[in-house]
């Protein structure tokens, strides 16, 4: 860069104002448009949830949440998340390790397949499990032993008397499906950007595969992993369409929190519906808070961490 350009750019504010920014009136107008749009579409609904939840007072609020059906919904939502999030976490780490650390054919196809659940409508995500496990499905014909598609599996399910559709396992499966990509999507680009040299160095210096993974990779991907888990958990607890299809909506048994909200709303118990909704809205706010915190943490780590790139690359 020429010295002229350097001096030209050294007081950035001044340059910014004269040549590459808009007149103050335009600036203010654009900020106003953005804020009015966001207020109408985002902030107002958010505030509205909490106002409606407490519309009949704090007593009614806790009365709604203390209901056994509400408790059962909360427990089922937590159960689905507790199973789905760790499984998708393991999947995400495995997929990212395979894709980022090795070269193989069909990598792009695999990446697209991992993204697939995001582009499938939640209703269809539920439907596919009904088609596999439902009464008219692939494995569902086991009650009717004449024509089972997979006799051994169908018989086993029959013997154990395991119900999947309109029962808890179906809800867990549907939750897993819709949250498959979250952790993988965060980790793959991160691990691709970090490259292989650190792990290769650890191996060459005598570390075992597990040692390399736990001592080198995990500290490097820690924040990306946390980020993915936060987003995965938010979706797992909030999923509605997919779960609605497989749950059968039995109150106190197969209703998750979003389904319980729907049930209360359909009963015209609007304040009750918003009381349960306020818990999920609070979870959403916590999610956004954590997400911002992790992003902040990440930026902090990125900047005072340039020594990584100064280490000569082992090739």
């Amino acid at each position: 860069m020429t010295p002229v350009a350097t001096t030209f750019r050294s007081p950035p504010q001044v340059v910014h104002h004269h040549t590459t920014s808009e007149p103050p009136a335009v600036r203010r107008a654009l900020i106003a448009v953005a804020l009015v749009f966001l207020s109408l579409f985002l902030f107002l609904p958010l505030v509205f949830v909490f106002v409606q939840a407490f519309a009949k007072g704090i007593g009614f609020y806790f009365h709604t949440l203390n209901d056994p059906n509400a408790w059962s919904a909360i427990k089922l939502t937590l159960l689905a998340a507790v199973i789905a999030v760790p499984l998708n976490c393991v999947f995400g780490v495995c997929a990212a390790w395979a894709i980022a650390k090795f070269d193989f054919r069909g990598k792009n196809v695999l990446l697209t397949l991992i993204d697939l659940p995001f582009s499938v409508s939640p209703v269809i995500a539920g439907l596919i499990y009904v088609l596999v496990f439902g009464a008219q499905g692939w494995l569902g014909l086991y009650k009717n032993a004449d024509n089972p598609h997979f006799p051994w599996l169908a018989n086993w399910l029959n013997e154990q008397d395991i119900k999947i559709i309109f029962a808890v396992p179906g809800i867990v499966l549907a939750t897993i499906f819709v949250t498959v990509p979250f952790v993988a999507r965060e980790l793959i680009p991160l691990m691709q950007a970090q490259g292989r040299s650190e792990e290769e160095a650890a191996r060459v210096l005598g570390a075992s595969g597990w040692q390399t993974f736990w001592r080198v990779t995990v500290p490097n991907i820690k924040w990306g992993l946390i980020y993915g888990v936060i987003l995965c958990n938010a979706r797992a607890m909030g999923e509605f369409g997919a779960v609605a299809v497989v749950s059968g909506r039995i109150r106190g048994q197969t209703n998750t929190m979003p389904l319980h909200i729907e049930a209360l709303y359909d009963d015209y118990n609007f304040t009750g519906a918003f009381a349960v909704a306020s818990l999920l809205a609070f979870l959403a706010l916590v999610t956004l808070g954590l997400k911002t915190w992790v992003e902040h943490k990440n930026q902090e780590l990125d900047e005072p961490n340039p020594q990584m790139s100064q280490i000569p690359q082992i090739k």
Binding site: T20, S21, E22, P23, V26, L30, V33, A34, L38, L40, L46, F48, V49, Q52, L87, F91, C94, A95, A98, K101, N108, L110, T112, L113, D115, S119, V120, S121, P122, V123, I124, L127, I128, L131, V132, G137, I176, F177, V180, E199, R203, F213, L231, M237, G238, F240, G241, A244, M257, L259, Y265, F270, A273, A277, L280, A281, A284, L288, K291, T292
Partner: protein, 283 residues
């Protein structure tokens, strides 16, 4: 030498390739691919005329028009306002900017059922916004306009979050060069900045559109389930399922899946274009 090098490249220093790739494929197959295959298996039980009759029945046709139309309009509105929001967040300073930036992701984090009942109540006759719009003769709840509002809510972060990083990385020298050569601020925006943002805007549009097509939870409460008028395609599938008419539900699901796959493919192409554009600019 050459043979040595190819041999050396084949020795992998890092372990776990077979284990991790194997588990990835096994898990994807079990959770995603085999169940998705069931859709096509179930459709195969229909004859071709039956299939065609199901996917072209009047309620289904009306739902396609509605779902596509509302999703398209919502994504379009989000392109305009999403660009303004991204622009304001990247280029200007104002009070509460960090909180606003964090809250842009609210539609991602807020469960769709919560968004659904909130929008439905907010825009109902007695709701804060419905009350204001009623004297103007605008009904949002139980109308197509309501579906559009819900889909706009859902799609906003897609545009903002795809445009924001590109806008942050834009080289200010290009704008400085353009304005020093005599371009007005509007010309700089229209001729220099906007073309560079186009791939990102298109990607964001496609992402918001794809999400809106399949959206269920946030729409059904405000849509009001009027046959032929406010029934989106996922709701048609849901209704067939409630009547245990699985072949019909599956046939319509196949239509949606095919559209989703085509969109997913175009999004991947668009993203590749965005990245290429971006690295070209940096180089």
């Amino acid at each position: 030498m050459a043979t040595n090098r190819t041999k050396a490249r084949k020795i992998r220093v890092l372990p776990g390739f077979k284990l991790t790739l194997g588990f990835t494929l096994f898990y994807l197959g079990l959770i995603v691919l085999i169940p998705l295959g069931a859709v096509f298996w179930k459709t195969a039980t229909l004859t071709w005329p039956q299939f065609w009759q199901t996917i072209t029945m009047p309620t289904a046709m009306a739902s396609y028009r509605l779902t596509f139309g509302a999703s398209f309009c919502a994504a379009l509105v989000n392109v305009v306002f999403g660009l303004i929001v991204a622009w304001v967040l990247v280029r200007y300073e104002f009070f509460g900017k960090k909180i606003v930036d964090a809250l842009v992701d609210l539609p991602f984090a807020l469960p769709t059922a919560v968004a659904g009942i909130t929008l439905a109540t907010l825009y109902s006759e007695h709701g804060w916004l419905g009350k204001l719009l009623l004297p103007l003769g605008i009904t949002v709840a139980n109308s197509r306009l309501g579906i559009f509002v819900a889909l706009t809510f859902i799609g906003l972060p897609f545009i903002v979050r795809t445009v924001q990083p590109i806008l942050e990385d834009l080289d200010p020298e290009l704008e400085e060069a353009a304005s020093s050569l005599g371009a007005s601020r509007w010309q700089v925006f229209w001729r220099v900045i906007l073309p560079m943002l186009t791939p990102a805007l298109l990607t964001g549009f496609a992402l918001a559109f794809a999400r809106a097509l399949g959206e269920y939870g946030s729409v059904i409460f405000i849509a009001g389930n009027k046959p032929m008028l406010t029934q989106i395609t996922p709701l048609i599938i849901m209704q067939e399922l409630d009547m245990f008419d699985y072949p019909k539900a599956t046939a319509i699901a196949v239509v949606m899946l095919v559209v989703s796959f085509v969109l997913l493919l175009s999004i991947n192409v668009l993203q590749w274009w965005t990245n290429r554009y971006n690295t070209n600019n940096l180089a």
